[in-house]
């Protein structure tokens, strides 16, 4: 069963083999990884500056919110995929995170929706 990953994530790096048989192979893999890490670092730094710069623009709250969350999600995905190796991680871990994320969304949105649906106000 394939788990679809965000396009931007797979566009930024190639999927490395998880073959750890040969130590020498492994070291070359790691050296390739190092290049990826540096690229990710630059991307993160850039996105940080970007998100701060954009926050000075005169936009509505909803627009500012979506931009901030989108940039944060991109940054977060980079950290998760490359620094935390999720891009090559096993299905078990991915599924645990998917379930957690769903629980997180429930926790975030249901109280919110109930507040807007409220009959009386506090």
């Amino acid at each position: 069963m394939d788990i679809p990953l965000p396009d931007i994530v797979s566009a930024l790096g190639t999927i490395m083999s998880t073959n750890k048989e040969n130590r020498n192979d492994h070291i070359e893999d790691i050296q390739h990884h190092v290049k990826v890490y540096m690229n990710v670092f630059i991307a993160l730094a850039f996105l940080t500056i970007l998100t701060v710069a954009v926050s000075y623009l005169e936009v509505s709250f909803i627009e500012a919110f979506f931009i901030a969350i989108t940039v944060a999600t991109i940054k977060g995905s980079l950290v998760l995929s490359y620094f935390m190796h999720l891009i090559t991680e096993r299905q078990t871990i991915i599924w645990i995170l998917v379930i957690t994320f769903i629980a997180f969304l429930i926790l975030l949105f249901i109280p919110l929706i109930s507040l807007t649906d409220q009959v009386n106000t506090w």
Binding site: T18, H26, I27, I30, Q31, H33, V34, Y37, M38, V40, F41, L44, A45, T48, I49, T51, V52, S55, F61, A64, F65, A68, I69, V71, A72, K75, G76, V79, L80, Y82, F83, M84, R90, T92, I93, I96, L97, I99, T100, F101, A103, F104, L107, L108, P111, L112, L115, T116, W122
Partner: protein, 200 residues
């Protein structure tokens, strides 16, 4: 005990070793912990008078927090580099990168110290408003996580790590990978905390 299987070796059907699964489950619980606070933030922002959060939010110091964000991102890259160095058998590089990671973490704490005391100096406390309350609570809990992480990182910088490197290299590399996952998660939380608290 040492007779427990799959401490380092990957179990064939799951492809995981025990600590890797364990730390990810722990991270899942931490996502829910901060999730509770994010949920509280959203709820409180809506419950507060119009513009209340924006007003109090504007009192935060964006340049200091941006600097802190870059510091944490740097510490994340040096953290993964310290693990990579171990995998490439370069123990000295491992120590160097780990040292930089710890310094970055300490720098974060120092900046936070100045941020907090700056607020107190101006008579702004957690009780000053619900925004300030949730700001201090969320960043405070994050600070506690940084401190916890630094304690573990510090342990792996001592001679205990040298001993582990001599006795069982794979074990040390595994432990650093697991610690790294925790540290990256702490960075991840800040990546979301920063825009939500400081920029919105």
């Amino acid at each position: 005990m040492s007779n427990i299987p799959y401490i380092l070796e990957e179990r064939p059907d799951t492809g995981l070793n025990n600590s890797k699964l364990g730390i990810w489950i722990f991270i899942a619980s931490e996502i829910m912990l901060f999730g509770g606070l994010f949920s509280a933030y959203v709820f409180l922002r809506i419950a507060a008078p119009e513009g209340d959060f924006a007003y109090w939010g504007s009192k935060l110091n964006i340049p200091m927090a941006t600097f802190n964000t870059l510091v944490l991102i740097t510490s994340s890259v040096t953290m993964v580099m310290s693990w990579a160095s171990l995998k490439m058998q370069q123990f000295d590089k491992y120590k160097m990168y780990l040292g930089i990671t710890i310094l970055c973490g300490l720098a974060f704490l120092v900046v936070k110290y100045f941020e907090y005391t700056g607020k107190f100096h101006h008579g702004i406390y957690p009780s000053s408003s619900t925004f300030m309350g949730i700001y201090f609570t969320m960043t405070g809990l994050h600070v506690l996580h940084i401190i916890g992480g630094l304690l573990v990182l510090g342990f792996f910088w001592t001679s205990q790590a040298d001993k582990m490197w001599e006795e069982d290299q794979d074990l040390l590399a595994n432990r650093i990978e697991i610690t790294g996952l925790y540290w990256h998660f702490v960075d991840l939380v800040w990546i979301f905390l920063f825009p939500i608290l400081y920029l919105l």
